[in-house]
Amino acid sequence: MKPLKIAMMSMTHGHTRKYYQTLKDNPKLDWVAVATANEEVKEIFLNSVQGIPCYDSEIEMLDAHPEIEAVVLASENSEHLRQMKLCAERGIHILSMKVPTFDMDEYDEMIDVIEKKGLVCQVELEMHYNPVIVRMKELLLKGEIGKIKSFNATNITLSPVWAFPWQGVPEKSYGKRVPIKEGDPRFRGGALCDHPHIFDMIRHMTGSDFESIYAEVAPNIRPDIEEEDMLSVIGRMKDGTVFSLDPSWSKMEERIKVPGPGWEVFPKRMEVNITINGEKGTLMADCFGPNVYHNGCPNDRYTVQYTYFDEWIGLIDEFVDNIRNSKTPLINLKWHKRTIEAMNAVYESIATGKVVKL
């Protein structure tokens, strides 16, 4: 199979660095170029990867490399529609970050642009390529715990806003400045916007869709950011499954500009744990581990050192297969739309104080 000629845009998203190894190592890919959004991310990129042409302008990159077949949009959410249009005009396939947009009119426009051009637009929800998730799904299909009664999950991390400042700007993260609720100085665009995975996973595991959602925002543990960082969500799926989801930034971090050793204040920077209760038993999973531990440099703090899986390998393999064999991505824009609608319902519930029916 001819390697896919791929590029990256913006390089401002927190997942940018996750692609470096895969794009360099995967024999199905030919990493052609990157376009960086600003000098800061350009410097970080050039310090991390050698030998890949780096442009200051997307247009300049695309003009210089008409051979580019696909682009990873490693950008803030507010840039996605513009970049999708730019790529679609040139017939370039797209790997979108986990939140294409929260604006549902924009979302429909994205679907329209992609469909009209017959392009592949895969949404980066890497948990689908996590081996623990694969095992959980297999156990559920085998009927080990019977019909699902409840699905409870955490997708909790430190806050990335110091390293990836756009995530702390409501207009760039949520798409516009919307107060979280009346009388509250905070705005939409925080932890919820960073954590769509568990809203997607419950659909993947149950095969059902959201019926109702209730959410509360708690006092921020970072009072100086203007978005929500702690929230709790409960609700019911159409098949009756009740759920409890925690998409918070509940792990405190050092305010460093480039993620690396010493980022953690709380020993563990990230967790996706899922408990599924069924009619025949309970399934509990920690999606990342087992890990190792140290209290060494730079802060001498006890720290959970992840032994990461690389979900991006499976994700990219699927992306290439979808393009080369004209397949629809597992996580395509249409599938993911209902997940985004559920996340919007979380904000609506917080604002109204009521259960929101979907």
Binding site: I145, K149, S150, N152, S212, Y214, A215, E216, V217, A218, P219, N220, I221, R222, P223, M230, L231, S232, V233, I234, G235, R236, G240, T241, V242, F243, S244, D246, S248, S250, K251, M252, F266, P267, K268, N273, T275, N277, G278, E279, G281, T282, M284, D286, G289, N291, Y293, V304, G353, K354, V355
Partner: protein, 230 residues
């Protein structure tokens, strides 16, 4: 219950308690002919320490308390809710002021709000096979730190002793005076003993009444799908 009564008698005799306390069941002690509700969880050391951490200033700026509890099938999930709501209030030192609940048969999820905007999430289910010990976790998240009764990067609690022999066994012993009892049974005996102390009976009866009202609000919310204000 006989064994627990013997341990309770041992304590009352050792400490010269005049009142006669008789354990009726795991949740009730009879004192002077009156049924007094037991809040045995309040005597579990982990909750005493979490309370001290939260209310003693070790954590600053409380935001969220997260609770998960899974018990064996056939258990009353609202009885478990009674326990967990009390733990939230006991540890936080704040009253709950609102409850929204979603129930699916023997599973129950809630968001409860406490004074000062603190949010509590409670995930309860009765899905374990008979005889399987309860699994639970209690975590408090604040601006300055997190407190939890499960170690970081683990899903379940540790035991004190693991024996790998012809038969694998594990032990967790937490009370020298009441050696031999499980942590849960120790808490029952200790709470019954505490109930014999002067002035605690009325306090326990009042707490029971308020908690029953909270649980009733949760039932209404689960039935109506609406948030209930307390």
């Amino acid at each position: 219950m006989t064994n627990l009564q013997e341990k309770l008698d041992f304590l009352t005799e050792k400490y010269d308690v005049e009142k006669r306390a008789v354990l009726k069941d795991e949740k009730t002690v009879i004192i002077d002919g009156r049924d007094i509700p037991l809040f045995s969880h309040r005597l579990e050391r982990r909750f005493i320490e979490l309370k001290n951490i939260v209310q003693g200033g070790t954590l600053v700026g409380i935001s969220v308390m997260r609770v998960a509890r899974i018990v064996e099938k056939g258990s009353d999930i609202f009885a478990e809710l009674y326990r967990e709501l009390d733990i939230c209030q006991y540890v936080l030192g704040r009253k709950l002021v609102g409850i929204t609940a979603m129930q699916n048969d023997n599973t129950l999820n809630l968001i409860a709000t406490a004074e000062e905007g603190i949010v509590c999430t409670l995930e309860i289910s009765a899905t374990l096979k008979e005889g399987e010990p309860a699994k639970d976790k209690h975590e408090i998240i604040s601006q300055r730190g997190i407190a939890c009764d499960v170690v970081v990067d683990a899903q379940l609690k540790q035991d004190s002793i693991y024996l790998f022999g012809s038969e694998n066994k594990k032990f967790t012993d937490v009370d020298f005076e009441l050696y031999g009892l499980s942590a849960e049974d120790i808490a029952i005996v200790r709470s019954a003993f505490t109930a014999t102390q002067k002035g605690t009976e009325e306090e326990l009866l009042a707490a029971d009444s308020k908690l029953k009202a909270l649980v009733e609000k949760a039932r209404i919310s689960a039935e109506t799908g609406e948030r209930q204000v307390i």
